[in-house]
Symmetry: C2
Subunit: 165 residues, 2 copies
């Protein structure tokens, strides 16, 4: 019964995660390069920055979840630490689209292969001692948090689409 | 062990849900009435509409989760079915702020009192037959989905704040 419940809960969380990733993927595919150069709202982040930001944030999940090294460690500073426009020369949109795809190929495969038991183990930035008393700080909880983060930015990125007349 | 795991899942999901509700509450409190009359981005929803939209969406959780009747059924059409500006006379911002608070007082109390077992029971819009083969369509899954929905709109509502100089 314990295993069944764990599998059910993992499915609930991964369904939401994969569903939002698919939505983001389709949204980026639907936006031409020029649209991604626009700010999502006046004075706010550009689409290209948010594409890099989400790519870097999801790339950072690989070591956090114990799935391996990040693919693009050089993106961390530009897209997670610094705000948009702090770095003048960003990778091209084409290059960022390619990185977005590559990060998610690896990440989705790793997420799909993780066992239910594995999801309830600690992620790599919590200590054994803390995890003993805070068992909710497991890998699956990281996915809940990243799914929300993705939806937060999806709500902004849809503004790059042309409004209905 | 089964019960312990269920309680852990519920905590993970409710922590995210209550955390985002608190963030939304603080954001609405920080925005003056005039700011809520603005569109979150050019040609997009006004803050006042999104305040009503989120209030109505969360009010609708009461019957969906078997917690009771909606408090403001008249908001359903204006804020969930129709887009912004389709209805000319909206309730005042003061009235909407009051409804937001009242809905969440009831909803948070009900969520807090629900048992771990209860969260894994079916919500009211799935049939017994479907639930037998799709046990992930439980009440807790509705909260995962609504938390994402809330974050989607939070990403937009923060644009009503004055950008940092």
């Amino acid at each position: 019964m314990g295993t069944t419940n764990e599998e059910l809960f993992v499915k609930m969380v991964l369904d939401a995660w994969f569903g939002k990733l698919k939505r983001a993927d389709e949204l980026f595919d639907s936006l031409p390069d020029e649209a991604l150069q626009n700010e999502v709202a006046p004075g706010r982040n550009r689409g290209v920055y948010l594409l890099g930001h989400l790519t870097a944030a999801h790339d950072a999940l690989l070591p956090l979840l114990g799935f391996g090294d990040t693919l693009y460690p050089e993106m961390f500073d530009t897209f997670l630490i610094k705000p948009d426009r702090a770095v003048e020369d960003l990778p091209s949109v084409e290059e960022l689209r390619d990185r977005w795809k590559k990060v998610h190929e690896v990440l989705i495969a790793k997420c799909t292969n993780e066992t239910a038991k594995g999801w309830f183990e600690k992620h790599t930035s919590v200590s054994e001692a803390d995890f003993a008393t805070q068992p909710h700080r497991n890998k699956l909880n990281v996915i809940i948090s990243r799914t929300n983060h993705l939806d937060f930015h999806l709500g902004q990125l849809i503004f790059l689409k042309t409004p209905k007349a």
